[in-house]
Symmetry: none
DNA sequence: TCGTCCGCTGGTCTTAGGACCTGCGGAGCA
DNA sequence: TGCTCCGCAGGTCCTAAGACCAGCGGACGA
């Protein structure tokens, strides 16, 4: 097993830090090595703990996230910006200042862990549609829209049913079920039914 | 999007409530509408806020979790008992008194959110072997005994990984992974990896 | 020593699953 | 009318998954 990714959590709300720590520390390849509640403290902790990735809220009293980013210009640490829909307008400047990506604070824990790994691996977490959405001030990313039938099939997948079982349950051919499965996998960006089932559980379907 | 599931958190330790709230509130379909640190306060909050689901610690000063359950006999609210391995002997009585399920306090956030959704959907979170083990007063959950390796593989399945991906993550052959999968499927009585993943989620693995 | 469990790995074989091609009819809308 | 979406279903094809056969060495306990 390789060294865990070392994380610093920077947010002025203890509740948020606690919540983040509670589930990030459960990931075996992630390790929270410190917390900070403002920009100055963040810089001090970064110097002390040399984290790989900083999860950084932009909106903080005193030295804010943008200020931190500007002072980290020559530091190899990767910064993942934690943002909310109402803070979207700060993100482009943060990216300009060197942040490697951003996520919404309401991101689910799996996706946050994945985001951390992605930027730690040297990639960035930006998509033109996401940037565009932020700049127009639109709310959180929309959920994929499944057709009623796809949703139904997904619900049955999330109960562990095979295509054969689903076809019998719905009174259609197995071929039809396969078609719905193929379509819904593409919509929710899942590679297979197992991932689809997990997605369904996370989204309260089935 | 449907209405979020409204939650009340009941635990005498502020730290626990805070941590729970921090990550449950991050789930878009869940909303923490209140907290209470003992049974009396819990009943008052339930009356005020009409939550869908109560996360309830059994062991509290004054009116405890069991007392709350007994007074909620005619309330439609669903109760998810938060327990620890050392409190296991209280669970059967709590279930008898109307709790819809129980989870261990060290459950990971995904599994907890899934548990909440499951009981909100009207299901229960009980397995005969889990109940049997609890009734005999054993400490650890009496789950099917997976070997350490099987458990590890199951955890990765529960993240949606393929056998190939798992073999790379663990540094073993795909053949070895398949063997572990075959063995763990038999142990947990699952027909395929999708069912195994769902089982893992329900049991706080991965 | 022997037996069991564990983790590792090879082999063979079948089939469920999924991608991607196709097309039908119905509904709704410009 | 034409287009899109939806649900339904056929086809071909490949491969991941899983069952079941086998065996190795190490650790542990009777």
């Amino acid at each position: 097993m390789t060294e865990p990714i070392r994380l610093l959590l920077v947010d002025d709300h203890p509740v948020v830090r606690q919540g983040l720590r509670a589930y990030l520390d459960l990931e075996p390849d992630l390790e929270v090595v410190g917390e900070a509640d403002d920009g100055e403290q963040a810089l001090a902790r970064i110097a002390e703990t040399a984290p790989d990735v900083v999860l950084l809220d932009l909106k903080m009293p005193g030295l804010d996230g943008q200020g931190v980013l500007e002072r980290l210009a020559d530091d190899p640490v990767r910064v993942l910006v934690l943002t909310s829909a109402t803070d979207g307008e700060r993100v482009p400047a943060a990216i300009e200042a060197g942040a490697a990506g951003f996520v919404y604070k309401d991101i689910d824990p799996d996706a946050l862990a994945a985001a951390v790994r992605t930027i730690h691996a040297g990639q960035t977490l930006l998509s033109p549609s996401a940037m565009r959405g932020l700049m127009t001030g639109s709310s959180a990313p929309p959920e994929p829209t499944l057709t009623p039938r796809e949703r139904q099939v997904l619900g049955l997948i999330a109960r562990g049913q095979t295509n054969r079982q689903i076809s019998r349950a719905l009174g259609v051919s197995e071929k039809t079920v396969k078609t719905h499965v193929t379509n819904l996998l593409r919509r929710i960006d899942a590679a297979d039914r197992t991932q689809a089932a997990l997605w369904a559980v996370r989204h309260g379907i089935g």
